[in-house]
C-alpha cells in the first residue's frame, strides 16, 4: 500500500456519504449507504454492472440528485450544490472530450471556466504529466484511445480537485493498454496526492490500483477493506466469488474445540479456525467453508499417505484441466458439492493428473474461511462483464486461434 504525500488536508475524510440513496420509481439503485473515503487514498468501488457504483459516483459529482442522505466533501455539505460548484472532477467512461476543442483547450477548459487567465504553464505541466505535450494542438479524434484517456485525466486533474472521480476510465481500452494505464494512473495518483475514487467492474483492476476497495452488490456495499484483506477474508459469498474465485463447501458443524470448528461435509472431515468464520455457529449448524483455488494442493490418490497430518482433505476426481501457462487449472468433482477449482503452479507437473484421475485435495486449515450458510452460494459468480478467473478466457481463445492455421496446414499437406 502506498501512502502518497498528502497535500492540504492530510488528515480527515475527503468524502463522507451519509445514508445516501437513489431510487428510480420503484427501483432502488442505491440503498441508504454510508461511506467514508480517507483523504489521499485510492479508493475503488467495485461491482458488476447495475450494482449502483456509477450512480454513487455520479451523486458525489452532483450529476445525479440523491433521493436521500447527504454528501460531504472535506467536511462541507455539498448535497444541494450543482456539479459546477463542487470541488470534484470526473474522468468519464467514454472520456467525453470536447470534439471541437484541441487537446490544449480541453485541458484548459476547467481553468478558463474559473476565470483563470494565464493557463499556459499549468496546461503545459499537466500535459507533461500525462506525456502528451507534443500533441497539444491535436483534436481528440486524432488521438488513440489511450491518449484520449490521458487527456481526460489531465483535463480533470488540472483543476486540483479535492477528489478525482473515475468512472470505468479504462473500460474502452484493450487488455494490454489497460494494464499500462492502471500503473500510469497509480503513478499519477501517488505524484499528485489527490484522493481518487475509481469505479470499476474489473476486480483485478480494483485490487492492483486501490488502497481500499468497497465491493458493491445490488445497491449495497457488501464489504470494504484493503484488497488483500478482502481477498483473504471475504465476508459474504458475493465477495468470495466476485473477487477472484472461491470454492465454497456447505458443511455441518460437528463441534467447536479450542477455537477450531470441526465440520463434516459428505463424510469428509474439515476444520476451520473459529476466528475466520463470519457466521457465529455451534454444533449442528450449517456453515459454508471456503478456500481459494490456489491454496489447495492436488495429490494423486496413490500418494495419500504422503500428505501431512492435520490438513483438510477432500476426495475427488479430475473432470477437466486447462493449461494457463503459469499454472494449470483443474476442475475436480467431489462428493462435497459443487465442482471444486484448483490452481496448481506449473513447477513440477504430475503426469498422472489428467481428467478422470482420482485425487485428494488438501490444504492448510488456516486457509479456510467460514461464511453464513443462509446466503446464495453462487452469488457473484455470474459476472457478465468479465470471466471470473482473471485472464482465463484469453489464453484459451489464443489456443483456439492458433489451432486454426495448424489445422489448415495439415489439410494442405494431406
Amino acid at each position: 500500500m502506498t501512502t502518497p504525500s498528502t497535500t492540504s488536508e492530510a488528515t480527515g475524510d475527503a468524502v463522507r456519504l451519509t445514508g445516501i440513496s437513489k431510487t428510480y420509481g420503484s427501483f432502488t439503485a442505491v440503498h441508504p449507504l454510508d461511506l467514508t473515503v480517507p483523504a489521499g487514498s485510492f479508493f475503488a468501488l467495485l461491482g458488476a454492472s447495475g450494482c449502483g457504483k456509477t450512480t454513487t459516483l455520479r451523486m458525489i459529482a452532483g450529476l445525479e440528485d440523491p433521493s436521500g442522505g447527504s454528501v460531504r466533501l472535506g467536511g462541507r455539505d455539498v448535497t444541494a450544490l450543482p456539479p459546477y460548484k463542487r470541488p470534484v472532477n470526473t474522468v468519464f467512461q467514454n472520456y467525453a472530450l470536447f470534439p471541437h476543442l484541441d487537446i490544449y483547450e480541453n485541458v484548459a477548459f476547467g481553468l478558463r471556466r474559473r476565470g483563470i487567465k494565464s493557463v499556459k504553464q499549468q496546461v503545459g505541466e499537466m500535459l507533461d504529466l500525462v506525456q502528451l505535450g507534443p500533441l497539444a494542438r491535436r483534436r481528440p479524434h486524432q488521438l488513440s484511445g489511450g491518449q484520449q484517456q490521458r487527456v481526460a485525466v489531465a483535463r480533470a486533474l488540472i483543476n486540483k480537485p479535492q477528489v478525482l472521480l473515475l468512472d470505468e476510465p479504462l473500460g474502452a481500452l484493450d487488455l494490454k493498454l489497460r494494464r499500462q494505464m492502471q500503473l500510469e494512473l497509480k503513478r499519477i495518483q501517488t505524484e499528485v496526492g489527490i484522493t481518487f475514487i475509481h469505479v470499476t467492474h474489473d476486480q483485478e483492476e480494483a485490487m492492483t490500483m486501490a488502497d481500499t476497495v468497497a465491493v458493491m452488490n445490488a445497491g449495497r456495499v457488501e464489504q470494504m477493506g484493503a484488497p488483500a484483506d478482502l481477498y483473504e477474508n471475504p465476508a459474504s459469498t458475493f465477495v468470495a466469488n466476485f473477487l477472484g474465485t472461491s470454492n465454497l463447501i456447505e458443511a455441518e458443524v460437528t463441534g467447536v474445540l479450542g477455537g477450531t470448528l470441526h465440520l463434516v461435509s459428505a463424510g469428509q472431515k474439515l476444520t476451520l479456525p473459529a476466528a475466520r468464520s463470519r457466521a457465529d455457529v455451534t454444533a449442528g449448524d450449517r456453515v459454508l467453508a471456503g478456500v481459494r483455488p490456489e491454496k489447495i494442493t492436488l495429490a494423486h490418490r496413490d500418494d495419500e499417505d504422503a500428505i501431512p497430518a492435520g490438513r483438510n482433505r477432500v476426495q475427488g476426481r479430475i473432470v477437466d484441466s486447462s493449461f494457463i501457462g503459469v499454472s494449470t487449472q483443474y476442475l475436480v468433482d467431489s462428493p462435497v458439492g459443487a465442482e471444486l477449482e484448483v490452481f496448481v503452479p506449473n513447477v513440477e507437473r504430475d503426469a498422472r493428473l489428467v481428467p478422470g484421475a482420482p485425487v485428494i485435495l488438501h490444504w492448510n486449515p488456516e486457509h479456510t474461511f467460514g461464511l453464513d450458510a443462509a446466503q446464495d452460494i453462487d452469488a457473484g459468480t455470474e459476472s457478465d462483464d468479465e470471466p471470473a478467473p482473471g485472464g482465463g478466457g484469453a489464453p484459451a481463445a489464443a489456443g483456439a486461434a492458433s489451432a486454426v492455421p495448424a489445422g489448415g496446414a495439415g489439410g494442405a499437406a494431406a
Binding site: A61, G62, L63, P82, P83, Y84, K85, V88, N89, T90, F92, N94, A96, L97, F98, P99, H100, F109, G110, R113, R114, R139, H141, R155, A156, N159, A412, A414
Partner: protein, 313 residues
C-alpha cells in the same frame, strides 16, 4: 509457401485468366460511381446548365418581343437593371436577413428542446415541424392573409396591447394595419422558411453527445456557459446549413411580398417575375437574376469564411 500441388484438389484453373478477370472486375468497380452519377449529371445538364447558358445569353440581348431578341453583348443592361432596381435588392436582402435571424431565434430553442428535452414526444414534434409541407406554399401564405387581415383577432390583439404602435414607430407597420407592411412580408418569410432552419439545427444538435454537457458541468461551466462553449459551437454546422437554407430561398422569394405586401414591399423576386411575365423585358429579367445570384454567392462565401467551416466537426 512453396507451390506443392495438392493431389486431391481439382485441376486448378490456368493462372493467366485470373488476373484478367480481376482487372475486368476492377474496371467495372471503377466505372460504377460514374454510372451512378449519370442520371444526376444528365438532369443538371438539361435543367440547370442549359437554362443558365440560355439566360446568360438572354441577358446580353437587345430587342423587343415584336422585333425579336438578338445577342448584341449589351452589358449595359446589367448596369441599368442595378441602378433602377437596387432598392429592391437591398430590400430583399434586408427582409430575408431579418427573416433568417428570426428563424434562428425561433428555431434554435425549438430544435434544442426537440433534441434534448422532448423525450418520447420527439418524433411527434418533428412531424409537426414538417407538417406545413403537406399543404402548398401558396395556400399557407394565403392563410397568413387571413391571419394578418385588419379585423383578424391577431391584429386586434396587437392593437389592443399597443404593440402596433411600437412597430409603426419602428417603421415596419403603418397605422393599425399589419397587412401590406414590411412586418407582414417578414412574418410570411419567417413562417415559410422556419422548417428549413429547424431541421438542420435539430440534426446537428441531436448529434451532440449529452455526456459533453455533464463533462462541461463537471468542469465548472454553468448551464449557460456550457451552452455557449460546448453546445452552440458543436451545433454550428446546423446553424450554417439552416441559415443558408433559409436566407438563399428567402432572398429570391416573391410570393410573400406579392400576397402580404404592397408595392412598397416588392422584393427583387417580384421585379424579376414581372419583368419576365408582364413587361416581357427578358434581358433585364435575366440580368437581374444573374445579379441576384452573384450577390447571394458573395454573401454566402463571406458568411462561410466568417462562420468558419473548419471549426465544424
Amino acid at each position: 509457401m512453396t507451390t506443392t500441388t495438392a493431389p486431391l484438389a481439382d485441376a486448378p484453373p490456368d493462372p493467366a485468366p485470373v488476373p484478367a478477370a480481376l482487372k475486368r472486375a476492377a474496371r467495372r468497380r471503377r466505372s460504377v460511381p460514374y454510372l451512378l452519377l449519370l442520371a444526376g449529371v444528365a438532369w443538371l445538364l438539361v435543367f440547370f446548365v442549359a437554362p443558365m447558358v440560355y439566360q446568360a445569353s438572354t441577358s446580353v440581348q437587345t430587342g423587343s418581343l415584336d422585333t425579336g431578341f438578338k445577342v448584341t453583348w449589351h452589358f449595359a443592361t446589367y448596369w441599368n437593371a442595378l441602378t433602377e432596381y437596387w432598392p429592391h435588392f437591398v430590400r430583399s436582402l434586408v427582409y430575408s436577413g431579418i427573416a433568417t435571424v428570426l428563424c434562428l431565434a425561433i428555431g434554435y430553442p425549438l430544435a434544442y428542446t426537440i433534441a434534448f428535452r422532448a423525450g418520447r414526444w420527439r418524433n411527434l414534434l418533428l412531424i409537426l415541424v414538417i407538417a406545413p409541407f403537406f399543404t402548398s406554399f401558396l395556400i399557407r401564405t394565403l392563410a397568413w392573409e387571413t391571419i394578418l387581415a385588419d379585423q383578424s383577432p391577431v391584429v386586434s390583439f396587437l392593437n389592443r396591447v399597443h404593440l402596433l404602435d411600437v412597430t409603426t414607430w419602428l417603421g415596419v407597420t403603418e397605422g393599425h394595419r399589419v397587412m401590406a407592411t414590411p412586418l407582414a412580408v417578414v412574418c410570411g418569410l419567417t413562417y415559410n422558411f422556419l422548417p428549413f432552419m429547424i431541421l438542420p439545427l435539430y440534426t446537428s444538435l441531436e448529434r451532440v453527445d449529452g455526456r459533453l454537457h455533464e463533462a462541461a458541468g463537471d468542469l465548472y461551466a454553468t448551464p449557460f456557459t456550457t451552452f455557449r462553449k460546448v453546445t452552440f459551437p458543436l451545433s454550428m454546422p446546423g446553424v450554417v446549413a439552416g441559415t443558408l437554407l433559409t436566407f438563399i430561398p428567402a432572398s429570391g422569394d416573391y410570393i410573400n411580398a406579392e400576397l402580404l405586401g404592397s408595392t412598397n414591399q416588392k422584393m427583387i423576386g417580384n421585379v424579376i417575375q414581372s419583368q419576365f411575365l408582364r413587361v416581357l423585358d427578358y434581358p433585364t429579367a435575366a440580368a437581374l437574376s444573374f445579379i441576384l445570384m452573384a450577390v447571394i454567392l458573395a454573401i454566402v462565401t463571406l458568411y462561410i469564411r466568417k462562420a468558419g467551416t473548419e471549426e465544424l466537426v
